[in-house]
Symmetry: C2
Subunit: 424 residues, 2 copies
């Protein structure tokens, strides 16, 4: 049992609320939230928060973690040159061992930035999962069926393997990479799995204008409408990016209860556009938020994403009141958990998993204490993360990592790979 | 003498360059940059950089430091409601003692974020300067002449007082608050001072569409063209924001060698727009960058500003290659110094002031080391600041402040002010 005392708890149970309370964990779950009781049990450790804030950790609802190997490898280039001359050739050479290494690098960044779960889409999933399990990081894979997959039945095998009952550290949801990389035959195959297992499905969707227009050219329908037509969304799910959604796409997502996962940093940097999040919010679309991969972002930083979601919506709506910061915080902490099918991690309350982040409020950017949640969204950054706990285990605290390896050793290994294997 | 060894030096002497070199200081200046010599002199302290990077500290080229008292006081509101119901009433009550306190809070944020100089526009300048002097922070004031000044001759007195020869820790440049807050008579008075002292002048300019259109309505000219007509820019200077510059404004600024100071975070959050920085860059306008005040930003974070400058330009140009990160870094470190009339602080080279920031590269967001400058702009944040030195003195190192006071004491005082004096 760990006791956090002398601090504040942020929860979403009845709207965003911050209260002076203790929080105890019992190994995996939150066992108590409330005032200091008259007598205390024995604790393994008691942590004096000194007024700092606990919140339900950030859920990164769309990422490609192992792409840390491409961080700052090729920036400030036209999109096609970046993708075809830089990203694809290096990805083609990527070994399973490299996915394992660079996933660990990404997990370091997650826990030092207060992120407690990820919704990841990449490949070489056995090595990806091994890295997550060794670190104690919670992750859900989204399959990425596309035209280059040699063995499409692997998706069904992985779906069964990574959804083992009783284990919620690893999950697996069905998905295609994107309409523009997947034939109709393969999209229909994925849709058949959706119906066989009665589960939701996800995909990159309407990320760029060109992709959206080309889909209309091919099928006479936007990507959301096309996928809906083939039954892809019959059991829920949603899409990543959603940059070029029109009003009918928004209505469809709202009506079917689908998730639109925003990736504002990636969309700006690759000049893909700004998704109409405020419009979606008003229409009642379920909204979560993610970093996308570090090749296009380049940081795995949910502070940045929350901030950008707010300010880009204020910009496109020409209204400083649009897209309230408190809503962005709810997207990042709570909605993301629901999108990942992790309702047991969506809030700080008794019986939920102890997946939490401690924000250090004793730093200049968090002062004065007019409004803590606005401070976090509009002035917060990774520097404010004091501690990250997942499934009751502390994985990061005060600059120290508890992931089972030495950071310096990992840096040495990733740079050795970069030097030996990549063209610079 | 302090010796930094086992690290890298970023300089702009012949384009952005990063080299493995030592750097020594002699109390105020940089006394040596180069390889480790065969014999070493005695040092007061030797700092093992462990591979980390030194760069010329960030210059915040437009800010209102003491407005930390309004950070997160009133966000997500329509612009006019925010300004007239929240900001102005609280500013009217602000005491000199509060300016002193909240300036210190801002300075804490500057040094913990690698910022080594500021170009500040506010009021109660004696207390503002006292706080800067006590902390050892380098600052240049821009006067803010407007219609509410009771004693307009104070500007000339302050201009002489704060430009004392031989002291470059404090400076003072002439300016008006903005065209929309300053009568023609007063703008002409400021212009007369410009001609009397043959010095540059600055102002908030073309920040919002409404302000720009109203100026055209009043005078038949855009703000830059109006001020140019009355001789305001006859000895150089420039403007803050520049969001709504048209092609003629850009041409004027380029031709006269004026500074356009970008404030991308503030412009997005207040829904003011996105300045055409890439167009200005191509036209040869001098560009620097600043945070604006913490009431509108809400962070005093040059990482955020560099990042936003790049990605917002990629967005409006619809070109992922627009506005290279290396240029943003040069704006923040070097150009800002020239804008503030601090050429002695614009680079890391022998004889320049020892105003520098050490970036910790041994953190996940800075790995792998494909490209350090892109890592800083696209993935860097305040967490990466290991040390900040101004005028040869270390003011921040590894989370510790050396500003002459205890952070906890200041936090207590600023929150006491907020509780006693402000309406919440």
């Amino acid at each position: 049992m760990i006791r956090f005392y002398n601090g504040k708890v942020l929860s979403f149970e009845a709207g965003l609320k911050i209260e002076d309370k203790e929080l105890w964990t019992d190994g995996r779950n939150i066992s108590y939230i409330g005032p200091k009781p008259e007598s205390l049990p024995e604790f393994e450790r008691e942590i004096d928060l000194k007024g700092d804030l606990m919140l339900p950790g950030f859920k990164n609802a769309h990422t490609h973690t192992a792409m840390t190997f491409l961080r700052s490898y090729a920036d400030d280039l036209p999109l096609q040159e970046w993708l075809y001359n830089k990203v694809f050739p290096e990805e083609a050479k990527l070994t399973p061992e490299a996915v394992y290494l660079f996933t660990k690098l990404g997990i370091m960044e997650y826990v030092s930035g207060g992120i407690t779960a990820s919704f990841d889409m990449y490949y070489k999933n056995d090595e990806y999962i091994l890295a997550n399990r060794e670190c104690g990081f919670r992750t859900v894979i989204c399959s990425a069926l596309n035209n280059f997959d040699a063995d499409i039945e692997n998706i069904e095998r992985e779906f069964l393997k990574f959804n083992a009952p009783g284990d919620d550290m690893v999950g697996y949801r069905l998905g295609i990479h994107a309409e523009y990389t997947t034939s109709m035959e393969r999209m229909e195959y994925l849709s058949s799995l959706v119906h066989k297992y009665k589960v939701p499905a996800f995909t990159h969707i309407s990320e760029t204008k060109a992709e959206t227009e080309e889909c209309i050219g091919r099928y006479g329908l936007t990507p959301p409408q096309l996928l809906d037509k083939i039954g892809f969304f019959d059991y829920g799910g949603g899409g990543f990016h959603c940059t070029w959604f029109n009003d009918e796409d928004i209505e469809l997502f709202a009506k079917k209860g689908l998730w639109a996962v925003a990736n504002p940093a990636s969309n700006l940097k690759l000049a893909s556009g700004i998704a109409p999040l405020e419009k979606m919010r008003k229409a009642g679309v379920n909204l979560a938020i993610g970093t996308d991969g570090p090749a296009s972002n380049n940081a795995l930083d949910m502070f940045r994403e929350m901030y950008l979601a707010c300010v880009t919506q204020k910009h496109i709506c020409e209204d400083a009141a649009a897209f309230n910061a408190d809503f962005a915080l709810e997207m990042a902490c709570k909605n993301g958990a629901d999108c990942l099918n992790l309702p047991q991690c969506d809030d700080l309350s008794v019986g939920k998993r102890a997946d939490l982040t401690v924000i250090n409020l004793r730093m200049p950017s968090m002062q004065p204490l007019h409004n803590i949640s606005k401070n976090i969204v509009f002035a917060g950054s990774k520097e404010n993360v004091r501690l990250t706990m997942i499934n009751g285990k502390i994985l990061y605290e005060d600059g120290q990592y508890f992931l089972g390896f030495e950071p310096e050793d990992l840096y040495r290994e990733v740079n050795a790979y970069v030097k030996a294997e990549m063209k610079n």
